[in-house]
């Protein structure tokens, strides 16, 4: 009796495996030039899904297949992905480093196996690693754009500003640095109409944490005139807190990213402006770099894409946003 049931169980498992496997029907190996392995930061963030889709499209155009794995922000998962890419014999590896330092050892393994590694978004800072090419956002420049937007919104009156930061991520630190540079320039030599940053608190890069941090600070500083959040989710959290406090008219929010939800919020007037990143361009350009590398052409080994400021009038013209 029991043996037969064991066998049934085995069959059930086998079926569940194959049914999940068949996105890439095995056996039908089409004649491609090779495979590109992509280990993404996290597909929970649509930013990386956009990178993946564009990377996949341009890889296919160049005759390559793409294997995309989700590291789920875990550096040990990402290190495993790199091992598997090496075993599989991919032509090139693309990473969004989940940890700028700790991923170094895994990249060295790929170097030793002779597989070129390209990074995208975050830059690896480990020593003695060989990165064939990098593409990312110029976060400092983005921060200055956010600062300019804030100066424009507050005008000559100035006012109190709350910053929702996320110190764990270097990219977000750079955004705040760029923002502060513009604010300090604005304040220089000024007696009236200064913009005073009254608090820099952790917004977690997350809607929920951004909401709580803003709520608490609205109580402590009732006269806040502006909020700068280092990404769209925390900016939306700030909006929720401000809306509940009924201070929409008083407070201007500047976000960062230009994800779809952020753009939508700009259209609806919830967020004043976003310096936007270009994940689609990142996905396409990283494939261009891979091809340039393979063909031995000159290319910029580190490319930082400048952001551009996105406001309500841009949102009205944007076909991506539904009115």
């Amino acid at each position: 009796m029991s043996g037969q049931r064991t066998l049934w169980g085995v069959i059930v498992i086998a079926i569940s495996m194959t049914s999940c496997d068949n996105t890439n029907t095995p056996g039908t190996v089409n004649k491609s030039k090779g495979t590109i392995g992509y280990s993404a930061m996290s597909f929970k963030n649509p930013f990386f899904v956009v990178i993946k889709n564009n990377l996949e499209a341009s890889a296919n155009d160049a005759g390559y297949e793409l294997i995309a794995n989700d590291a789920d922000s875990d550096v040990s998962k990402q290190a495993n992905h790199i091992d598997e890419f090496i075993s599989k014999g991919v032509s090139a590896i693309v990473l969004n480093p989940t940890d700028r330092l700790a991923i170094g050892e895994a990249i060295k393994k790929a170097n030793a196996a002779g597989v070129p590694v390209f990074t995208c978004d975050l830059q690896c800072i480990a020593e003695d690693v060989d990165i064939a090419g990098h593409i990312g956002t110029d976060n400092y420049q983005g921060g200055t754009l956010a600062g300019q937007a804030m100066v424009e919104a507050l005008g000559e009156q100035g006012g109190e500003v709350l910053v929702l930061d996320f110190k764990q991520a270097n990219s977000c630190v750079l955004r705040v640095d760029g923002f502060m540079e513009v604010i300090n320039q604005h304040n220089e030599g000024r007696r009236e109409g200064k913009i005073a940053v009254i608090a820099m608190v952790n917004g977690g890069g997350d809607e929920d944490i951004g909401y709580k941090a803003t709520s608490d600070n609205l109580v402590a500083h009732p006269n806040i005139a502006g909020v700068f959040a280092i990404n769209d989710p925390s900016a939306l959290g700030a909006w929720k807190a401000i809306d509940e406090a009924g201070k929409n008219e008083q407070i201007t929010i500047v976000g960062f990213d230009g994800a779809k939800a952020g753009k939508q919020a700009i259209l609806e007037g919830k967020i004043f402006a976003d310096p936007i990143q270009f994940p689609a361009k990142m996905g396409n350009d990283i494939m261009e770099k891979i091809l340039a590398y393979q063909h031995g052409e000159e290319f910029d080994p580190v490319e930082l894409i400048p952001t551009s400021l996105y406001k309500r009038e841009d949102a009205r013209k944007d076909p991506e946003i539904q009115n």
Binding site: T6, C20, T23, D74, A102, K167
Partner: protein, 452 residues
């Protein structure tokens, strides 16, 4: 047939069969062209080039700057020279661009080359080795006239079954498998330990921080290194003892104690990290525990196998092993028959803590840093490995060998799904279904043995 299915082999080792079937499935799914680039393939390629028509073949070997490529290139060059074919140059290029520069140099120096020996990777991805690019070079440099690239013939095979991949599966999953050993002890006593993932992070952080502050920083001696490893494991073992004491002396359910410890250990890890993503280990040699090998086998794998054998011996041939089963089977009866129940429970949680500590030390060595986020949700994977391996959460039942198979089943599924590029959401669905099936199997087997 029916008798075969009912045999002890199938009922006892059904999970081995599942592992074999999964292995076969992944083998099939990853079946495709393999491109050999070992010295043997190099020798074979050289023989092919020797047989080319004409007797003025001048070969340039073009490969990458890696250790295995050096061996490959040497094998080709040696074989060619033995057979009297001229080896014009061996080019080991860091990038495709360097390869082009070196080939142009050969052209400028008017070195005669009409065959290029390489392997599939360079042949398929390096622009300069495409026939059209080579024709372009030949047009500019007469000494490269008629140059053609050659690579070893491909054969069919499975990426999954390659030695490199099998070693990497074992290596990747060694920390989880090691923790699963400790968890098997705990689960057989009808307990549970939710704290292992967090203890792993705590151990990694203690290793990193104590090395930085106490054991010599960047100049740490190997004694300093081992002291850091040992103190991390000691703290985790003491955490296990603490859990054991709470479970026995204060009768707090293990689920609650270890849930609390899980949160505390994770919190302490973040405190030790001081808000950073990771605490860097600068002591040289810290990575050796992870990257070193014994007879060519990575340390982690050797350690894991030794611990499994040790645990198997403890469970099947010592008094402690019998006590563990007795406590899990019926604690009251065990106490009445003279088993030191409290001590046994404290010991199993201490073992589980020590195993988590070891996993943390290995993680710190792997990433040469202590990461407060290390081992998140590992407790669930570890418990899954033990349960899939046939241990019963009701206690009294389970085998160390089964746990090994359970850990490998999960590892093979993960590897197969990653190789196919299946996203982690689907992988989670398979994990969940598999755990359920394994427990169902266990239930059915128990029921049928009761009826028999």
């Amino acid at each position: 047939m029916k008798r075969l299915l009912q045999s002890k082999l199938i009922t006892d080792y059904g999970m081995v069969l599942v592992l074999v079937l999964l292995g076969a499935l992944v083998t099939w799914a990853t079946w495709g062209e393999q491109h050999p680039d070992d010295p043997g393939a190099g020798k074979h390629l050289a023989n092919g080039i020797v047989e080319l028509p004409g007797d003025d073949t001048h070969v340039a070997v073009v490969v990458r700057q890696t250790k295995s490529d050096t061996e490959y290139a040497e094998a080709i060059a040696t074989q060619l020279k033995d057979k009297g074919v001229t080896v014009a140059a061996i080019i080991q290029a860091r990038t495709p661009r360097d390869a082009r520069v070196e080939l142009v140099k050969l052209g400028e120096q008017q070195v005669r080359v009409n065959a290029i020996a390489t392997h599939h990777f360079c042949f398929s991805t390096w622009g300069v080795l495409q026939q059209s690019a080579l024709d372009g070079l030949a047009a500019n440099y007469p000494s490269l006239k008629g140059v053609k690239p050659f690579k070893p013939a491909s054969r069919m095979g499975s990426t999954f079954l390659s030695k490199k991949n099998l070693v990497s599966i074992l290596n990747q999953n060694a920390p989880i498998a090691i923790m699963a050993i400790g968890m098997t002890f705990v689960i057989i006593t009808a307990g549970i330990d939710l704290s292992v993932g967090s203890l792993m992070a705590l151990s990694a952080l203690i290793t990193a921080v104590s090395l930085r502050d106490w054991f010599g920083g960047p100049q740490a001696s190997s004694l300093g290194l081992y002291s850091a490893f040992a103190s991390a494991m000691l703290v985790c073992t003491l955490c296990g003892v603490f859990v054991g004491l709470m479970v026995t002396s204060f009768q707090v359910p293990p689920f609650v104690v270890t849930l609390a410890l899980m949160m505390m250990a994770r919190g302490c890890s973040f405190i030790l990290a001081g808000g950073a993503d990771s605490v860097d280990i600068q002591a040289s040699g810290a990575e050796l525990l992870y990257s070193g090998t014994i007879f060519g086998v990575p340390n982690q794998i050797v350690l894991m196998l030794v611990l499994f054998v040790l645990a198997h011996v403890v469970m099947s041939h010592t008094a402690l092993g019998r006590y563990v089963y007795a406590v899990g089977g019926n604690a009251q009866a065990a106490r009445l028959s003279g088993v030191p129940v409290f001590r046994v429970i404290i010991v199993v949680y201490a073992i589980c803590g020590a195993a988590a500590g070891l996993a943390g030390v290995l993680d710190a060595s792997h990433f040469t840093s202590g990461r407060p986020k290390a081992g998140e949700f590992y407790e669930l994977q570890v418990i899954a490995a033990v349960v899939v391996g046939g241990a019963s959460l009701m206690g009294g039942e389970g085998k160390i060998f089964g746990t090994f198979i359970g850990a490998m089943i999960l590892a093979v599924i993960q590897n197969g799904l990653n190789m196919q590029g299946v996203d982690s959401y689907r992988a989670n669905v398979v994990y969940g279904a598999l755990i359920l099936v394994a427990v169902l199997l266990d239930q059915l087997r128990n029921r049928s043995s009761r009826w028999a």
